[in-house]
Amino acid sequence: MAETTFRTLITAFTDFLTVAIHTILWERSIYPKTSFLSARKYNFPVKQNRHPKVCEWINDAVTAVESELLKGRVHSVGVVIFTKDSKPLERFVFDVSRFPDVPVDDLDTLLQSGDADEPQSILPVVEMEEQFRATLSKLTASRTSLGPAPEGCTFTVAIELKPDALAPVSHPQPWIPAQVADDENDGATARHPTAKTTPLRAIKAGEMKFEAWIEEAGSDAADG
């Protein structure tokens, strides 16, 4: 278990993120359900979109998130659902601020837990998969609490940077700086007043620690 590097940790997370995005697309009916394929991940049945462009977009987005994660700049990753009028409806947030802080040079160094007495594994795969399964299962069950999404919704992936992180400006630029309507707090997660926050799960498996919740926008609350 001590053979994990920071990179493998991030990769495990991004794999999960990809599956989560596909699941969110399925649950919120962003794309017609017939365009989804049944697959299995972490020994759990999941839905995966079949359209090549969609898959490509998701992979690109996740890759961009990954590169930012590797630099350790990301505070949280969000999958935002917009209505037809480009107003955010809800946001699925994954708070990754608790990932270990690893300098760029040590991306491929083997990680070892600081607790010498109790060698804990950095990335206990079995537990991690178990928790991923639980999260995905909760994600699918979230449909009940959120209510159906209106027609014609779209989605995007957003990241919130840590306060001291530099914005990812490079060429070609994968990220577009988002306009923050409510600029009360630095790095505030709420861009619009949230009507409801539904916790999904807090994953804790070795060093893989993150939390997931769903925020619903107050002004454009979906039915139910």
Binding site: K33, T34, S38, F44, P45, S137, T140, A141, R143, T144
Partner: protein
């Protein structure tokens, strides 16, 4: 221990928002599945009376349906159709198109026996498509309507992982799983046909022609084979019968013996597994290499896996088993008339074989143990240690027992260890620890075999 099922369901479905199938409920509360189905129905009704749509159900309908038109019921594309067909089973409605290739489509109504999983919102529609419904029950409860019916498969995975420790042969009555009465648990090591137990040590040695004389492996193999035979015979007494028996057992593992062994094992099924489990890796001493080799040929016959190493232990075991074997044999006779003789033989040969390899392995040394065994026939406790059987449970639930040189002391439970040994024999073969099983395995197994009886 039927806890309050409403409490359980309330916690799991409402609070934790999990999907609970009738199977999960039955395993968790240790009740029969039919009772669990009723519990689900009752809870669903009560909750929805309190707060409508708080709990959703999926139903399983069994019955005959008329073959529907092809376009709609092509299994793959019926994802969004009214009925959701479980992927795991072949899409029964979908097979109708194949049948109907000759027809124009709607002319002939071919009744198709269908097992269908439907969500509650589609229930009425689904029921309407059935010509005759033979059964309908609640399959699962979940807090919200399932968008992906495949999620139900996760329930079964959870059951398997949580309750893998339960022996299905025991638990089926409680849960109500369908059980074939003829099924028998396969034991890993087949005992060699019970040959007449040749004189221990000497005869065994001579009769084990198969094993390359010089090689302890061979010896062990034969020994194990013989021991298996002996064990299976159940007539423990190491009657130093004919070498012939040993030969028989050693040289040829007639399928008959195996069959007998199987039958015997069948009765020992549970015990056998347990025995296997009990026997931790026995023969530590014997070279593991030998064990795998020895195991291969022994395969079916005796599980005695590589007990080569510990000759003394082996011998002792044999001695012990001999005694037990006698007792066991008596019991076995009662059980299996037909197998009495072979068993005796096996027992004999087993003993012989055991002694044989031992002898071969170490000339004098083996002899002595053999003798000791004979002498100690009446001894209840075979202190032939070091033969440990390590029982590993397969995915398939087969107990694979590997015998290692470590023998354990026999006592009344000899048969168990023996059986374990036998089980381990095949297991060893599987695991490649064939060498070990040589003599010891056979002996131990056979004895344990009888011991059970």
């Amino acid at each position: 221990m039927a806890r309050d099922y409403s409490e359980y369901l309330a916690i799991n479905v409402l609070n934790e928002q999990q999907v609970v199938s009738y199977r999960t409920l039955s395993r968790a509360l240790k009740v029969h599945v039919n009772l669990a189905k009723q519990m689900l129905y009752d809870f669903h009704r009560k909750q929805n009376a309190k707060k409508p749509s708080s709990v959703h159900a999926t139903y399983l309908i069994t019955g005959t349906r008329v073959a529907q038109s092809t376009s709609k019921t092509n299994g793959i594309h019926s994802q969004d159709g009214e009925d959701t067909v479980m992927r795991s089973s072949p899409p029964i409605p979908g097979s109708s198109p194949a049948k109907q290739t000759g027809d124009s489509g709607d002319n002939d109504d071919i009744p198709i026996r269908t097992v269908l999983l439907v969500r509650e919102e589609h229930l009425e529609k689904a029921k309407a498509t059935f010509k005759h419904i033979s059964g309908i029950h609640v399959y699962s409860l979940q807090p919200g309507s399932l968008s992906d019916i495949q999620v139900l498969s996760d329930c079964n995975r959870r059951i398997v992982s949580l309750y893998a420790a339960e022996d299905p042969l025991v638990a089926w009555k409680q849960y109500g799983t369908i059980q074939d009465p003829n099924v028998k648990r396969r034991t890993q090591g087949q005992r060699p046909p019970p040959p007449v137990a040749p004189p221990l040590a000497k005869s065994a040695v001579s009769t084990k022609p198969t094993a390359t004389a010089g090689k302890p492996v061979a010896l062990e193999r034969q020994a194990s084979r013989a021991s298996d035979a002996s064990i299976s015979s159940a007539k423990a007494t190491p009657e130093p019968n004919d070498t012939a028996n040993a030969k028989k057992s050693a040289a040829s593992k007639p399928p008959a013996t195996k069959r007998q062994s199987s039958d015997i094992f069948k009765s020992f099924a549970k015990g056998g597994s347990k025995a296997k489990k009990e026997t931790p890796d026995t023969s530590a001493a014997p070279s593991p290499a030998l064990v795998p080799v020895a195991d291969q040929p022994m395969g079916g016959m005796s599980d005695d896996d590589g007990d080569d190493a510990v000759e003394d232990a082996e011998v002792e075991v044999r001695a012990g088993t001999g005694k037990l074997r006698k007792d066991r044999q008596a019991e076995l006779e009662a059980m299996m008339d037909a197998e009495d003789d072979p068993m005796d033989d096996t027992a004999e040969s087993g003993i012989d074989s055991q002694t044989e390899p031992v002898t071969k392995a170490q000339a004098e040394a083996t002899e002595e143990p053999a003798e000791t065994m004979v002498v100690e026939n009446g001894r209840r406790r075979g202190r032939r240690r070091v033969m440990k059987k390590k029982t590993v449970k397969d995915e398939e639930g087969y107990l694979v027992t590997k015998e290692e040189a470590v023998w354990e002391s026999f006592s009344e439970d000899e048969p168990a260890p023996k059986k374990a040994k036998m089980a381990s024999a095949p297991a060893v073969a599987k695991g490649g620890a064939a060498a070990k099983k040589a003599s010891k395995p056979g002996q131990g197994n056979i004895m344990s075999f009888f011991g059970k009886k």
